[in-house]
Symmetry: C2
Subunit: 256 residues, 2 copies
């Protein structure tokens, strides 16, 4: 897997250059536990107080869920998750979080302006993790998050005040907005424009923000471990795990 | 289309509240030309100098392409496009761009850590546009960008120094990394780990950064116009335009 090889090669170089800058324990093939910070980028390239990763303090998942849920009704999924994670950090930590206008992270909505690609809630998490976690950690947390999103009966979150009844939960089998939304609409018998579908997406926005913060809190406590391989390591190309989801007739062979 | 309706309703409210804050000309159904800034967020919510949109000055597409191409070899597609657009603005404008650590935008790589969803170059563009353009403009530019990415024979960019021969161009018919990469690999007969595939993705990273900046430069000149509808307005749900690309046997009916 070429991309991963390049990356590992660079990371190793950085590790030898920056020994002591972070703690990384490679427990075994594919089992990684990481704390502290590693970066491909030299201190000289990062200007001022915003050097990565930004400081993280454990967040209250109840508060995070509420901000993310309310955020969906303000500016949809991508903004919802980004605000659920980053707004409490603006309050707890201040700069550099207060220098980032979270409302700029809205365009991931509907799988990026309605194209149904990566669920916007996951795009919001992708961007937040990029600032909050060291690269190696963020990459592994995101891998876990996408797997959890694809495998889990959602939504789980229950809002304090009921806007719409959402009784149906569904497994998306995919991190793609189109697949996730369509599976739920089919199972629930509800249209995309219905109040129930809207509230389902608002609740999933809360779920994704909460799950991301649970993983970040675990990492902060030194408890985050992941045995999950990234798809290219398994299939030789960027992909989801369920090839048959789209390739319903014949799964093309990957060129080696 | 519920989501769009909600959004338009809010935008109209803001328009009446913020008349004069930006210039918007709705030329006809689906034809929108926009300049200046409109936001769902009040000034009171934005803190300090980072209020959106951040100032934009026209960029040199040659410089943008080179930074993005080189950026791929540093930290792949998502970082490549983000750096191609944002690094020149850090130099030209300074703050608030210099307060944003662009290397935090790496995790979109390989369609988000190798899951093959939204092409990372487009995720980089999504985030950059969220800061640089007013929301209405960014949304429309991104819609145009995803359509162009899906319809165009890529890569176009020619690097100054040849790292690998990339003679094959291909049309992705999709903004998804997995589909885009797989189509090219199949046509070129090259593996994902090959130097040619890597350079193909580096060149597309340049192409996406350049196209985004061409659209932003047009907007800055008051020339950006778009007649393109977002997919939910056409299909009633977030989606790509080529349903048959995945639904090879029977296209499910969208619940109305």
């Amino acid at each position: 897997m070429g991309k991963k090889e390049v990356l590992e090669e660079k990371s190793l170089t950085r590790r030898s250059l920056l020994s002591g800058a972070g703690k990384i324990a490679v427990v075994g093939a594919g089992i990684v536990a990481v704390s502290g910070g590693l970066s491909l980028f030299s201190k000289a390239e990062a200007k001022g107080p915003q050097a990565l990763p930004w400081p993280y303090e454990k967040l209250d998942t109840k508060e995070v869920g509420k901000i993310a849920y309310d955020g969906w009704y303000k500016a949809f999924c991508s903004y919802g998750v980004a605000s659920g994670i980053l707004t409490p950090l603006q309050t707890k930590i201040g700069e550099p979080y207060t220098l980032l206008p979270v409302e700029g992270l809205r365009l991931g909505e509907g799988g990026t302006v309605g194209w149904g690609t990566l669920c916007g809630s996951l795009l919001g998490a992708t961007v937040a993790l990029g600032f909050v976690a060291p690269y190696d950690v963020g990459k592994q947390i995101l891998n876990e998050l996408l797997q959890w999103y694809s495998d889990t009966d959602l939504p789980i979150y229950k809002p304090e005040t009921l806007k719409a009844e959402v009784k149906v939960m569904s497994v998306s089998n995919s991190p793609l907005c189109h697949v996730s939304v369509s599976n739920w609409c089919k199972k629930a018998g509800k249209a995309f424009g219905s109040p129930e579908r809207k509230d389902r997406c608002a609740r999933i926005t809360a779920d994704v923000a909460v799950k991301t913060v649970m993983l970040l809190n675990d990492w902060k406590d030194g408890k985050f471990k992941s045995t999950l391989k990234h798809p290219p390591a398994l299939y030789g190309t960027p992909s989801q795990h369920n090839c048959g989801g789209c390739h319903s007739t014949k799964i093309p062979e990957v060129i080696k």
